[in-house]
Symmetry: C2
Subunit: 498 residues, 2 copies
């Protein structure tokens, strides 16, 4: 028996929805396509923010904040950008409500409608055009933590929601080389962050032309594989060339005193990472949260049978003392996060709540344990009946090690699942098509040579397949394009995606 | 000569604008009423967030995130609430843009327009109505860090902007008593936070009926005095009674199994606090940032004359070493924040930039200092020529103490300014009116007895005066209302406000 129904293998999308509910991460809101991120889900996001923000700052970037609203005319400046973003966005047209027959109606029509930012290149570009004057002002390295809105027709919590939370980096450089290096540097930051902190193995690479960010010269991505074999774009880093500096007029005087257009980049990750963690780490008992970003590392479950008030009190006291000792330890450079769950609920019920939430460690402490000075410790990466008896001292001593083991287990499990689901032996278009038309077993990624013809990207859509990226690690050998049979040097990663 | 023109005494609003510009805290954006918060201003906000978030969590609250958009029908639920917020708000009416004659036009009209949240009681109430079922689910203690939008006709950076950043706490309780206690607890949290961290002396008290939050039963506030004698509402805490639980249907089954409406509270502070700090601490040389929330505590200014490359290099190395040593120290429980300003600019120019930004300590280090092992240290709370010669060791040792002295100085200066500008000796309406009609000298606050008649609040508007609060510390003695001459027990604080 498992806590989640349906099981992953029977109905992955149904399982995903149920895990979100059972783990209390988030819920749909009455506003179509917008989600409510509940404390357990927001706690994950807060840890993502804290950890990533530190790396962003350590690499020389500063945080700032720009307006939520973008004038229509700004969005129109960059042709491909407007094409990519105008279709589905929230438009503010009025700035006032008035009562009419007991109903509120929008009045005070704006002269120019405002778009709720789907991304901030154009509005930040406007500021940058004023901030940048001389080569001495460069590089300009700015990051923003914000909410953005992209009206989604088929929303799905954490993956595609009308509103989501993210960070968006925007930088300006005096040379193409430096801007390109920045783009790759941040891709590396995302890769390391995803793998080390979220335990998400990812494949970094460049997007094909058909998958590029609207207005970018080059888009780089980290792609993760979910347990249904589909790909999730987990973060992107864009080299924007001079496209946006020309449309936003970001010019600087170089060392010779001549005016030049600057080179810009942008890069972001979002609350979608939480969706990725659910689909990579979750199991049929619910969520499993990687310790590095877990809102709580340990829950202590005091067992208080309610027959002897003094004994119950002693158990609670002991739990509090243990919590205090554990909190004094550190794991991965931060305080260990412990909660004592003293809610007036049955022990089995509470235990299962925490299993479904995916807390890394559960510690049970009852009246008999007080005498022996021991507790029962359960790891979320093991079967739920598989508990270890430990003395208080042993637990205190071992806790950072236990958490690190769980973190590594999640990463290794995800990596071996992914690696065993990348098909690299296909040779022909027929094999390729039959791979993606399979009904049984996992459909994962295909890695094969690709000639780069944009037409083939269109054709892939019929198979509901796309090029996820041209992976960073290329062998450079010449071969045959899996789709056209033409000579090809580049290897591409093909897959279905979220 | 001062760095800012106009001076405070000649044109306070003009001075305020110039300080924001000179200190590089923020700027106006092309979107009317929206501001761009630049890194120095956002750094202040990040510290406010970090410090306040900790206290909010330590008092048992958890963070969550709710939708940016509120359906019109939600806003309509609470009569006073809609009256208070419908007038000026951004309304989303379409979810798509289409090209028409080369222009983008809004299409895809929404069935029900959405309001960009001016505050979240109604949308959070909808979630709470589902989360709360039994008394066991209470208290529910939630906080949100978010952006909100209130369309302002006369925007002013940090004080009244269409979009601003804030935190909004929303809690649900089973009893009136507990909810009321929560309201006062958070008021106390705000008072301590403003005074201890922002060095802003504030007067806590209750708002009069005319100044209440739309839909609240009681509104409490902390009021600060700016250097022009005007009041700034720096934070509010609302006891909402059962008003919102009735309109949002937040019911719980009590211990007897009967259904009851819950009692709710909400409370918030915003980026307006930054405006308050500017107007309380700034001087005619620019901003002065309280060390506890300063984005950087210390700037090290290496003096590199550029004549001897080796010597210049040695100065820079020494500055880096000093920076590292200083960063290893802590102040008020957090790492000391140090920046080495090695930009290729003149020493005087750089020095003035940092004076205008209001960094607490400036440290100059030049070729001659290397030999003597000393530096020149300037405190922002002293005259800018008033520098101390210190050995490296002495600086390292004293830096937490220096910062704390500056923090305390700012608070004491602000407090003595405020206290000397509260007029408590007025007896009659004539004296009251002539006080607020004065042309010369500071017009501060008047503290006097008030009968509580709502009509008098209307009359005060002619004088551009309002009741800021009924201060917490009441002597309870009977006296005469300064406005009506009627018998009155309560003392009110009157003033002009932002």
């Amino acid at each position: 028996m498992f806590a989640i129904s349906p099981l992953r293998e029977n109905d992955f999308p149904g399982w995903y929805q149920q895990v979100i509910k059972a783990s209390d991460l988030a819920e749909n809101s009455p506003v179509r396509g917008c989600m409510v991120i509940k404390p357990w889900g927001y706690g994950l996001w807060e840890n993502i923010q804290a950890l990533l923000d530190k790396v962003i700052k350590d690499t020389g970037h500063e945080n700032a904040y720009f307006p939520l609203f973008i004038p229509l005319s700004f969005l129109e400046k960059e042709a491909k950008h407007v094409e990519g973003f105008a279709k589905e966005c929230a438009v503010v047209t009025h700035h006032r409500l008035e009562e009419n027959d007991g109903k509120l109606v929008p009045t005070g029509e704006l002269e120019e409608p405002l778009v709720v930012r789907p991304t901030s290149e154009t509005i930040i570009g406007e500021s940058f055009s004023k901030w940048v004057n001389s080569y001495r002002d460069l590089p300009l390295l700015i990051n923003q933590w914000a909410n953005v809105v992209r009206w989604e027709m088929r929303p799905r919590i954490f993956l595609r929601t009308a509103e989501f939370l993210w960070q968006e980096g925007h930088t300006v450089h005096s040379t193409e080389k430096e801007a390109f290096e920045e783009t790759l540097k941040m891709l590396k930051v995302y890769k390391d962050f995803a793998e080390n902190e979220l335990a998400l193995p990812v494949i970094p690479g460049e997007k094909s032309e058909g998958e590029r960010f609207p207005g970018a010269s080059n888009t780089f991505t980290i792609e993760a594989m979910m347990q249904d074999g589909k790909a999730l774009q987990a973060g992107t880093s864009h080299f924007l060339g001079q496209n946006f500096s020309k449309s936003s007029n970001i010019q600087f005087s170089n060392k010779n005193g001549d005016m030049e257009y600057a080179y810009t980049t942008s890069w972001g990750v979002s609350t979608r990472l939480i969706g990725g963690m659910i689909m990579v780490h979750g199991d049929d008992d619910g969520m499993r949260v990687p310790p590095r970003v877990a809102p709580q590392h340990i829950v202590i479950l005091p067992i208080m049978p309610g027959k002897d008030a003094a004994k119950d009190e002693a158990v609670l006291e002991c739990a509090q003392k243990l919590s205090k000792d554990l909190k004094a330890q550190s794991y991965s450079g931060r305080e260990i996060r412990v909660r004592v769950d003293k809610r007036d609920k049955g022990g089995g019920e509470k235990n299962w709540e925490w299993i479904k939430k995916g807390i890394p460690l559960r510690v049970e402490i009852g009246p008999r344990d007080l005498e022996s000075g021991t507790v029962m410790v359960a790891r979320r990466d093991k079967a739920h009946r598989d508990k270890l008896k430990m003395s208080f001292e042993e637990l205190n001593e071992k806790v950072p090690e236990l958490l690190e083991e769980i973190q590594n287990n999640y990463f290794q499990q995800a990596k071996s699942f992914r690696d065993s689901n990348i098909e690299t032996s296909l040779k022909t278009r027929e094999e390729f098509e039959s791979y993606f038309q399979r009904k049984e077993g996992n459909i994962g990624f295909v890695r094969a040579k690709w000639c780069g013809d944009p037409k083939t990207e269109e054709e892939l859509k019929k198979l509901k397949v796309s090029i996820r990226c041209l992976p960073e690690d290329q062998n450079g050998k010449v071969g045959k394009c899996i789709l056209t049979g033409q000579e090809a040097t580049i290897e591409a990663l093909f897959g279905r995606s979220y």
